[in-house]
Subunit: 127 residues, 2 copies
DNA sequence: CGTTTGTTCTATACTATATAGAACAATTCT
DNA sequence: AGAATTGTTCTATATAGTATAGAACAAACG
């Protein structure tokens, strides 16, 4: 599995797992309709507890990125054909706003930020 | 003061304060060389504890956005004339990457993300 | 000189994170 | 049908993070 967890970071490992799974989907390594590993097997692979993986899965479900079928497994949601929903756009806006403000404070111009974003998108899709 | 804290959110109030102060600087409400209120007076204004404000200030110092002069006060750093530093750029990249990945997973294209970013920059600077 | 400043210390309370193990019932596979 | 696997639920424990409270200190400020 394409997942690297670093317990020594000050980001909780369940949150790291959430981000890594999202990035795996973004880069096309996992796609709509695919199943995620069971919480037990992924926990064993990553050397962490079953409940920690379960927490990460439920966070992904809360974000409407996967759906969890009780006693069966977790499946990645397919994209709606009519683009991002209003709720999702609002959530992304709330998440990204403080970081953009920080970038401005550190001296970045609009064009610098747009360039950085474009570079990061390429990085994600190309990794 | 241009600060709104919402204790019922699941974001720690010290972290909310950090973000709000960064946004106040980004929008030009506070600028390089300006002093921040003392931890005691801002804590009284916001109805929170002195130590919580102190924690937020030290987080801003860790980000190199302010400097704290012991027994004196906190001053907002001025921008270096030669643009954002490598360290800062790397930090912004690490912070923004998981959110961009989430945006991709939710169906946003590169142009959608760049448009959103541009809109948010206008929102921040205009508020 | 008196006030204000950030700092440091002890203390308490609550929440969040992470692990552990067991048991359950539904689903899945053979 | 039977066995294995699944997510769920429960109790328990340990550690770290968040938030408040109050007191005391020495340096800086007016």
């Amino acid at each position: 599995m394409f997942i690297q967890i670093e317990p020594e970071l000050d980001i909780p490992i369940y949150a790291q797992l959430v981000s890594q799974l999202i990035e795996a989907i973004a880069r096309g390594n996992l796609t709509g309709g695919d199943s995620l590993p069971s919480v037990r097997s992924l926990a064993a692979d990553l050397g962490m507890n079953m409940h920690t993986v379960n927490k990460a899965y439920h966070e992904l479900e809360r974000k409407e990125i996967i759906r969890i079928v009780p006693k069966s497994g977790a499946i990645i949601n397919s994209l709606p054909q009519d683009g991002i929903s209003g709720n999702h756009l609002e959530r992304i806006s709330k998440e990204i706003k403080p970081i953009i403000a920080e970038a401005i404070v550190l001296g970045m111009e609009t064009k610098d930020i747009n360039k950085l974003v474009t570079t990061i998108i390429s990085t994600i899709k190309g990794e």
